[in-house]
């Protein structure tokens, strides 16, 4: 008698482990490194974020002279958020987005 049989029969009566995404969404914990956002008021234009980024994903937005993150290159590591002295860049918990740039 295969040992996995009781487990498998019990599974028939349990709630499934998977969820019907996107109707049901799992919550991510605090501290999850999702999409970064930039608060332009706080930026003091020190450009430490550009130096900190391992992928050269941050460039200067020509109109506002604040950082602009190209999400196609960003690895969501959070180095820019760590390097910013005024906490102008913050990592949020968002993981579903289609934006190309964060300005």
């Amino acid at each position: 008698m295969p040992k996995i049989l009781p487990t498998v029969i019990k599974n028939l009566f349990r709630r499934p482990f998977t969820v019907k995404y996107p109707k049901v969404r799992r919550e991510v914990p605090e501290g999850y490194r999702g999409k970064p956002v930039i608060n332009r008021e706080k930026c003091i234009r020190c450009w430490m974020c550009i130096r900190a980024c391992p992928d050269r994903a941050i460039s200067i937005n020509k109109e506002t002279r604040t950082p602009m993150i190209w999400l196609g290159r960003c690895t969501y590591c959070g180095e820019c958020a760590e390097a910013c002295p005024t906490r102008a860049i913050r990592m949020t918990r968002e993981y579903e987005f289609l934006d190309q740039y964060v300005r």
Binding site: P2, K3, V8, F17, G31, Y32, T75, C77, G78, E79
Partner: protein
């Protein structure tokens, strides 16, 4: 009359592209030829063009499954170059995340091994339980796969006190499931029919072809870098190394399952004994000329990093010897007399991580001649 079965570069049994050219006669494998290098990305060259801090993120992306151990070894090598010792608490946190990675890697291995055998139920159940480990990594470090916690000089994030009960609870679940899988592995007759006496690697072959990690330990070679050449916090933690003698696929599975249970024990010890203090020391990225070698125990075996600095912020040269590079050569004796049905099972039993391998095929650009590195060059004598 033999005909060729191409396994790769795209094949359902390979998770990453490599080319194995099997010559079969009916159902029996007569010869196997390997062509590697499909995942070559020029990482060592790229590492020499980034400063040490950015190099951590590149090192992390060499492999998806064993990423923490790559970044940890890189950080340890650079710290050795600079002569900086990370704080004790950082070493413990690194050990915890590395052991979590070992658990997740072995559960991934178990699921895919079951799938190669046609046992889809075990595949789904093993990956379901792996989700608990991934949730823990997400809790501790902010990312399920790429944790990005390592940095030269320590770790970036601390484990908060309120996270510890959650970690303990999930570890309890994972340990219970791992014991159930050990039980299943020992008793299920179809698993034994597919895995016993399949892909046997004898102990002298394992030493001759320089197998590392669980592949070597399943053949009776009692070698583990965590114990033999201890690093980080492993000197203060006590754990045992599972070793099997049979050398077949079943033994390799057994070694990996027992390692999951050992890793849970290590994490519990580390959580208890973790000292308080800073998690990061300041680090000057300009390192005077120096050389350093570091070895760690990745989930797949012994991982080796060599680095050389030249006074600037970027390394002069980084050389990585990944564990799968070492175990490739031992595939030849394993396939002696095997059948087609055993190909995916044996291939997966060495837990190949082709993303980790950098280069094997050498091309002479003058003459255009392609030379495949021979078995003798891959092998390395080990006492």
């Amino acid at each position: 009359m033999t005909f060729i079965i191409p396994v790769g570069p795209q094949h359902p049994s390979l998770k990453e592209p490599e080319f194995f050219r099997f010559e079969v006669k009916g159902e029996e494998v007569v010869d196997v030829d390997i062509r590697l290098g499909y995942a070559h990305r020029g990482i060592e060259e790229a590492l020499a063009r980034r400063n040490y801090q950015h190099g951590v993120y590149l090192a992390e992306r060499i492999c998806g499954i064993c990423n923490v151990v790559h970044s940890t070894t890189y950080c340890q090598t650079v710290e050795q170059l600079a002569g900086v010792d990370p704080p004790e608490r950082a070493k413990y946190i690194r050990a915890i995340i590395m052991e979590l990675e070992r658990i997740h890697s072995h559960m991934l291995w178990l699921g895919v091994a079951a799938h190669q055998m046609g046992f889809d139920t075990l595949f789904m159940l093993a990956w379901r339980d792996r989700e608990h480990v991934l949730d823990l990594r997400e809790l501790i470090s902010g990312g399920r796969i790429h944790s990005a916690t390592n940095t030269v000089g320590g770790v970036r994030r601390d484990i908060k006190q309120e996270q510890i009960p959650k970690i303990i609870e999930r570890l309890r679940i994972v340990e219970g499931r791992a014991r159930a899988y050990v039980d299943l592995w020992k008793s299920d007759r179809t698993i034994m029919a597919r895995c016993s006496n399949v892909g046997v690697l004898r102990k002298d072959d394992a030493l001759k072809f320089s197998a590392v990690g669980p592949v070597a330990r399943a053949s009776g070679v009692n070698a583990d870098v965590r114990r033999d050449d201890t690093y980080g916090a492993y000197g203060d933690l006590s754990f045992s190394i599972p070793v099997e003698r049979a050398g077949d696929v079943w033994a390799r599975g057994m070694v990996r399952l027992m390692e999951i249970i050992e890793s849970v024990g290590i994490i519990r010890q580390a959580l208890e004994r973790m000292p308080s203090g800073p998690v990061r020391h300041p680090f000057d990225l300009k390192i005077p000329p120096n050389e350093a070698v570091e070895r760690t125990e990745a989930p797949r075996g012994e991982l080796l990093y060599y680095a050389r600095s030249n006074g600037t912020e970027m390394p002069e040269r980084v050389r990585i010897r990944t564990p799968t590079y070492g175990t490739f050569a031992s595939l030849r004796p394993m396939f002696c007399g095997a059948t087609i049905a055993e190909i995916p099972v044996v291939l997966w039993s060495i837990d190949p991580c082709f993303g980790c391998n950098d280069r094997v095929t050498l091309v002479n650009s003058d003459t255009g001649e392609v030379r495949v590195v021979t078995l003798g060059e891959l092998g390395r004598r080990r006492k």
